[in-house]
């Protein structure tokens, strides 16, 4: 026995439609949570990551003992949370003796784990420790520049994956139009060794230069940390191929009120609202009538009057 369930409110219907699979997708939301134990640095990292991604991130504050991303059974909770919050990237932090200050960045495809990369955090500097002119502080939700430096990002497979994950994490929404005044942040990632990446967040200062293109100056504002690659899990080839598939055609926009005919060609329909002739009040001319016009009118009336008199006389 099956039952059809449809949402009873318009709001619920809109939420469901927003979460449905689409041709052009919404920006990925990030789920930030932590495991059984966290250190001070790790909780600071998670909090600052949440602040950086404020509009598109959800932070869970309770500890989750049964989440073990790299074990086969330990992902069910993560997948459940991903389904409930509609988040496709997650950042899971934990602190153990064997893996201190551990951060697992992972992505989901259809709310199942797609790939994982585990990094250790070293030399973390919180955004509160940076002092800068508050006027250049980046605004929440602005689209960032992302820069990668180092040959490691091309040669080492783990760094390649990390590059992809960091791009996905920091990218935000894909937009068609960009407001140039709203560019105020940049993420700089440098591969300082085949296993270590230095990540920092800077604010952008635009300075006058001779041309239209302003001169860029970066000022470190945000958290900066060293990421040490630990473990990683690449997606299966089949899953990767499916996830990378994109449909080439753009969604057809319905063009209304236009039809094409072989005989008549392209025709459009225009709808004009009803013109109530006779109901609208006539314009009031008494105010604006100038003296010459008034006199002219008087003359005209006089002539007509005399003409009519003449007619009468003749009759």
């Amino acid at each position: 026995m099956m039952e059809i369930r449809t949402p009873k409110t318009h709001k619920a219907k809109r939420v469901l439609e927003k979460r449905a699979p689409k041709l052009v997708e919404n920006g990925k939301k990030t789920l930030i949570l932590h495991g059984t134990k966290t250190s001070a640095t790790l909780s600071a990292v998670l909090m600052e990551l949440y602040r950086l991604k404020k509009g598109g991130a959800i932070k869970y504050s309770r500890r989750n003992e049964n989440i073990r991303p790299f074990e086969s059974g330990g992902e069910t909770s993560l997948e459940f949370f991903s389904l409930k919050t509609d988040c496709s990237i997650f950042a899971y932090g934990s602190h153990t003796k064997k893996r201190p200050d551990n951060l697992v960045l992972g992505r989901m495809y259809d709310h199942h784990v797609y790939d994982l990369i585990e990094v250790g955090i070293e030399n973390f500097k919180s955004l509160l420790s940076f002092s800068y002119d508050k006027k250049i502080a980046p605004h929440e939700g602005s689209k960032p520049f992302i820069c990668f430096t180092g040959e490691g990002f091309e040669n080492v497979p783990e760094l390649k994956q990390l590059k992809e994950v960091l791009t996905d994490l920091f990218r935000g929404e894909v937009v068609d139009n960009l407001n140039l005044t709203g560019l105020d942040r940049a993420y700089i990632c440098t591969a300082i060794s085949p296993t270590k990446v230095f990540l920092t967040h800077c604010a952008i200062k635009l300075k006058k230069s001779g041309t239209i293109v302003p001169r860029i100056e970066l000022v470190e504002v945000g958290p900066s940390m060293d990421l040490v690659i630990r473990r990683n899990r690449l997606p299966n080839e089949g899953l990767r191929k499916e996830a990378m598939k994109s449909s080439k055609d753009k969604p057809k926009k319905k063009v209304k009120n236009v039809d094409q005919d072989d005989v008549l060609g392209k025709r459009g329909r225009i709808y004009i609202p009803e013109q109530e002739v006779g109901k609208n009040p006539l314009p009031d001319k008494s105010k604006g009538v100038k003296r010459e016009r008034r006199e002219g009118k008087l003359k005209k009336n006089k002539e007509e009057g005399s003409a009519s008199k003449k007619l009468k006389e003749s009759e």
Binding site: T167, L180, I192, V213
Partner: protein, 319 residues
């Protein structure tokens, strides 16, 4: 994007992304600050490269600032969810395709023959409203006792039910193909017992507590020492609830028993005692008691006289 030096950066303007694959750190950076400085300078160069292309795009002026059309991103990133799957055609769509039936757009306003007016197709005062039919002519095939109006309603109900069933079937095939519309969910309800249509009743919280209490009293100690589950409430007191007043009043305290009896007496002997006392009921009780006394004992306890048995010397006095 070419720079003055040999370095060529891979720039993805759609993502505001730049990658410099040719940088190599000179031997070992002396200190942390040096390293950080160098990273930031390299980053500045990359951001400048992106900005060069970005600011050279044709921009439109808006109230917020210059708006620029971004090209689509070139780096391929995996999708969040699968591509929307095509919906399988419904039973009607298949049939229409086979027969070549075209969809025709229906007008909202239709001409009504009976009233010579234009009426709407659906809604208030519609064209072929079922409730407006005053007379249904009898046909030869009609049975004498049948109500044609009720029959019409019945037919409509059946049609609606059939349509719902077909809709469910169509949604099931769509769900099988993975193309269920986003706002619809198919939920499995409870299975009915074969033969009946009744669905099992859900037991409420209080009923469950009562049943648990009953089960507890069947133990030797009346359920007092049973291990309680988390969240289980202590059992309600069974039986009659009596509050017995102390026989001897407390020193200097009020005599509660005396108070109680005084209260009752007061109520009986007061001006409005007839309102408290149900005279009719009292009379009935008195009469019943009197009759019971007359008959001796209760009829049930008394041995019944067997009237079939003849008393041997009952009417001997006549002779």
């Amino acid at each position: 994007m070419d720079m003055e030096t040999d370095q060529i950066y891979q720039v993805d303007v759609g993502n505001l992304l730049a990658f410099n694959s040719n940088h190599r750190f000179p031997a070992a950076p002396s200190s942390r600050e040096e390293l950080v400085k160098e990273c930031v300078t390299e980053g500045t160069k990359l951001v400048q490269a992106i900005a060069d292309t970005l600011f050279n795009f044709p921009s439109t002026e808006t109230s917020d600032g210059p708006l620029v059309q971004l090209p689509p991103p070139t780096t391929k990133l995996p999708r969040e969810k699968h591509l929307p799957r095509p919906k399988p055609p419904t039973k009607w769509e298949e049939f229409a395709l086979k027969k070549g039936i075209q969809k025709r757009k229906k007008d909202k306003i239709v001409y009504d023959e009976t009233t010579d007016k234009f009426k709407r197709r659906h809604g208030y005062d519609r064209v072929n409203d079922d409730n407006d039919i005053p007379i249904i002519e009898a046909k030869a095939s009609d049975e004498p006792g049948e109500d044609p109006f009720a029959k019409r309603l019945d037919d409509k109900k059946k049609r609606v039910g059939k349509q719902e069933k077909n809709r469910l079937q169509n949604l099931k095939t769509a769900a099988k193909a993975g193309a269920l519309p986003s706002h619809v969910q198919l939920a499995a309800t409870a299975l009915p017992i074969s033969g009946t249509k009744a669905q099992p009743q859900k037991i409420g919280k209080e009923a469950l507590g009562d049943v648990a209490g009953l089960a507890a009293t069947s133990t030797a100690s009346g359920g007092k020492f049973d291990k309680k589950l988390p969240g289980e409430k202590p059992p309600k007191k069974q039986g009659k609830h009596h509050k017995y007043l102390p026989v001897v009043p407390r020193h200097g305290g009020v005599d509660e028993e005396k108070e109680q009896t005084n209260k009752v007496l007061g109520k009986l002997l007061s001006k409005h005692s007839h309102e408290i006392l149900n005279v009719g009921k009292a009379i009935n009780m008195y009469n019943d008691k009197k009759e019971k006394k007359k008959s001796g004992r209760s009829d049930k306890l008394k041995a019944k006289k067997d009237i079939t048995k003849k008393k041997p010397y009952a009417n001997k006095a006549d002779k």
